[in-house]
Amino acid sequence: MTVSLRVFLVGGAISYRALFNWIRPGMYAATMLGSPLFQILFFTYLGRATGSRDDNFFVVGNAVQVAAMSGIYGMTMGIANERQYGTLHALLGTPANRLAIFAGRSLPYIANGLVVSAFGFATAWLLLGFRVEAGAVLPLVVAVSVTTCSCVALGLLIGSIGLRARDVFFGANLVYFLMLLVCGVNVANEDLPGWLAAIGRSLPLTHGIEAARAAVDGAALGALAGPLATEASIGLAYAAVAFCLFRWFEREGRRTGSLERS
């Protein structure tokens, strides 16, 4: 138990430092803070230019979505880079608990996503006049936390696919950009064609953003239970599929000798 806990915590921290390509301060500031800031500004101004919904709609949607940057890109790096850097066979040669290895990796990216999202809200407060009632802060934090966890689960899935697929970052980029369209970030789910809205509802983020918007509008934590439970369930489902894929690719990789095949 203690060993698994150590693999979960220490292993997770070490893998974050080793595999997250954007961890250098300059790179981190530019990519994880600068880019989300301008994303929030861009879409809020687009909303203003078209006379679409109010600023809060775009600020909340994008400030929650930027947490997915850490969840999807970071988590993809955290799993798939083992193969890129040639360390996968060493990792899978250890007797360590696979669930501890797998789950431990997600923790730093969850924390990272929360930092990025908080930065997004703070800069929107500073530059765009975004305001939130004191009583809405706790429900908003809960909504963002649940959403970040479910986005990390999606990242785990893409990362696991990266243990086998050649160009996993293509998939990560595509998913990240599609989320901007189908997850209610900038376009409300009801304004999308039915098939796009259905895709959005089956992805992490959509229900979390819905909860975050309700929180900013003053809904109590209890009132957010529905969308947050849906968001958490979707996240758990993605995490479960990701872990099954991880184990399956490990078994297949051993059987066919294709663990590090590129």
């Binding site: 101004y45 687009l46 679409s52």
Partner: protein, 258 residues
């Protein structure tokens, strides 16, 4: 001598264009990403109260794609050569490094033409946007001029990236700000006043204005002149900075560090 440079430019441009066209990342950046962003813009505009011209949004989203392709191409240009171990060979070659780098940055911006085509076709097929251009010939001229000037802006960026190992961080950072500051989707009048003078120094601003004039009526010539003039300015500055940065990178022995 001039013949050799022209041949290098032509062969390099063709080589990089074919090479980049086979990259899934570039397909994403130059086709899928602009289609996604134009769709967002169309849906947002539909729910909006302002009378936004969807054709303008399609053209703006296409130009955003050209900028993304140029930005990531220029940011990646030096980095790829470093990773492949060819940067030192190219810098050490008898031809000036500028002549080697220019075709690559021009090829990345040329690839962005897919973006304009993709957003227009997508807009036509799914959002029934009428593709009626007031001055098709001016548009046919405005597009390549914009592409070339963006390619030269990419060259300027690439020349500064030779010093930095983490150049792609700047690429990630510069995408949205340039989309905003050049008024591709959001009118500059909505942004703080200090953004406008910055926009004058950026060729996509003039490229977008030229394309708008050509599409909706008016004269695009002045904007085209500004776009071309800025492009030549970028080339001149790049020639100086590239030589200096190349010397500094040799002095510090950072040329091939990854």
């Amino acid at each position: 001598m001039k013949g050799v440079s022209a041949r290098l430019l032509w062969i390099g441009w063709r080589f990089h264009l074919v090479n980049l066209s086979r990259s899934a990342f570039y397909v994403l950046v130059s086709i899928l990403q602009p289609v996604i962003f134009s769709s967002i813009a169309f849906f947002v505009a539909r729910t909006g109260s302002e009378d936004a011209a969807l054709l303008r949004l399609a053209l703006g989203a296409g130009l955003m794609g050209i900028w993304s392709a140029t930005l990531f191409g220029s940011g990646g240009a030096i980095q790829w050569q470093r990773r492949q171990g060819t940067l030192e060979l190219l810098v050490g070659a008898p031809r000036p490094f500028l002549a080697t780098l220019l075709p690559l940055t021009l090829a990345t911006s040329t690839l962005g033409l897919y973006s304009i085509a993709a957003t227009l076709v997508w807009g036509r097929l799914l959002f029934k946007i009428p593709l009626a251009f007031a001055h098709p010939w001016q548009l046919a001229l405005a597009l390549p001029v914009t592409v070339v000037s963006l390619g030269l802006l990419g060259l300027l960026l690439a020349s500064t990236f030779i010093l930095y190992r983490q150049a792609n961080a700047f690429s990630n950072l510069l995408e949205y700000p340039i989309w905003l500051a050049t008024g591709l989707l959001v009118p500059l009048s909505l942004l703080p006043g200090w953004v406008t003078p910055i926009s004058w120094a950026l060729s996509p601003t003039w490229g977008m204005r030229a394309i708008e004039e050509a599409a909706f009526g008016g004269s695009a010539w002045a904007e085209l002149g500004a776009c071309l003039g800025l492009g030549l300015g970028y080339l001149a500055v790049s020639a100086v900075t590239l030589r200096n940065f190349e010397r500094l990178a040799r002095d510090r022995a950072t040329l091939s560090l990854t």
